[in-house]
Amino acid sequence: MFEFCSNPENLSGFSWLSCYLTTPKHMNLFYSVGTVLLLLLITAPTALLFGFGGAVMARSKILLIKVFGNAYISIVRGVPDIAFFLFFVIAIDQLLEWSRHKILCPEWSEPIRQGNDFVVCTIAKLPLSSSPQWIHEIYGFLLAVFTFAIVFGAFAANVLYGAMRAVPKTQIETAVSFGMTERQVFRRILVPQMWLFALPGLGNLWMILIKATPLLFLLGVEDIVYWARELGGTKTAKFTSYPHGDWRVWYFLGLMIFYLAFTRVSELIIEKLMRTLSRGTATLGGALQGQVGR
């Protein structure tokens, strides 16, 4: 990156470090921080959406929907994350390719499963093997987002389901006596009031989600953990201009500080949000702010 980096052997101290930290290979580490942030940014709202859907379904009066909602919540919550990640991503990938195969190549006569191999016609591949590598990476990333959203959506659904039940019954009864329809009660009373009860649980989930991002590595997305391990490993002078010993401990220390700082900032924001939400409510949190008049 810098001009003086053309001869790394002659460098030492700070200038060596500044060259080392800006090699194209090292930049991948910084990009992967972006990948993790992007994943969180997309996954959190999606998971919340899944959670909301799951909670509403679990509350439904129609038996079939209720059973489906409850099944989603309890099955996904009960399966270990790693098992779910390993199974689900392969399954959904093969399901998509299988459906594309059925639609796009109806004249194909060979079986899709040939021994160990999963073979679909060339144009049914997802992404096509002729697409550039970045499309493959985005596809893998989207699969990861989807999987994260399903897993964390189930937990969020449970939190929201509980929060909806925590809204005081008197509030609902009052709304009904004002002549609101069921839909209006849900939209105007239940949902606005439940957030207060859901927030601690959702905040918890957010923290766990942040800490779960290294699972990306399991899905073949090269995240910060992959690059920390790869860059931190011993490098012999034969294969790099920047040889060094086993520095993984420093890289992982950096990761630890990154995650700690990140969760700390989240904590502060959640606390602030909690204070805003409880203002004026008939809860202990609201009363502590001295906002509830007597």
Binding site: S129, Q133, Y242, D246
Partner: protein
């Protein structure tokens, strides 16, 4: 939400239809963590013996190739499920692997594996020996009197010896040599067992055409001596074709 899912599915099913007839690209899967065979260089690109070899093979077979990195442990499962089309990652040809995937003809002959230890007197016969999981070395140690500890990456096997967790590490000589050369604390000990039937490219069993193309390309490189030159350049093996 329903609409979202449906439109996502439709997109998923139809995406890239217009590109469908463009000629196909062969995706080459490698580990990128096993110098000098394959590694990631300072520019973030896959480099090493197999990069140069693979590019030349693709040129000779008139294929368009793209390089993909994949973890060693899942490198066979991801080949058979079609994430890439070949494995070119210093993989030895063994009967167990041959049950799941096919191999091209070998491009490196079976070469001795070596024990690397922290001291001359290390107990490589019955001690604790580190090896990368799912390698021929791991199954070799499991069959001897030594205790096997497995690691997911080659790097971790070396640090296990450095920090005393293992008495020695068993790996390909070409991988251990540059490490031993730069670290005075590590020495070669014991036997040099010859394991496996040489190194070849892994290909799906259903992809016979592709396997034949690569075998032909490897044979042509064996014939004109370019393969031997590459093996010498990267110090992969003492044995030439």
């Amino acid at each position: 939400m329903k609409k979202l899912i449906i439109s996502a599915v439709i997109w998923g099913l139809t995406a890239g239809l217009s590109l469908a007839d463009s000629h196909s690209v062969i995706r080459m899967g490698t580990e990128g963590a096993y110098p000098p065979w394959n590694f990631v260089d300072d520019n973030g690109e896959i480099a090493g013996f197999e990069r140069e070899l693979g590019d030349e093979l693709c040129k000779r077979a008139e294929l368009k190739c793209e390089w993909v990195k994949n973890d060693w442990d899942s490198i066979i499962p991801n080949l058979v499920s079609g994430n890439y089309d070949t494995i070119i990652a210093g993989m030895s040809i063994t009967p167990e692997r041959g049950e799941k995937i096919d191999f091209t003809t070998n491009y490196v002959m079976s070469d001795p594996s070596r024990y690397l230890a922290a001291s001359e007197g290390a107990d490589w016969k019955t001690g604790v020996i580190a090896a990368q999981s799912n390698t021929i070395q791991a199954s070799y140690i499991a069959a001897t009197g030594a205790t096997l500890v497995e690691f997911a990456t080659p790097e971790e096997t070396i640090s296990a010896v450095r920090n005393g967790e293992a008495d020695a590490v068993l790996a390909d000589e070409a991988y251990l040599k540059p490490i031993a050369a730069e670290d005075a604390g590590l020495v070669f000990v014991g036997d040099a067992p010859i394991i496996g039937g040489g190194v070849g490219m892994g290909i799906r069993k259903s992809d016979t055409d592709l396997r034949n193309k690569f075998t032909a390309a490897i044979d042509s490189m064996k014939g004109d001596g370019t393969l031997n030159a590459l093996i010498k350049k990267y110090e992969i093996s003492e044995q030439m074709f």
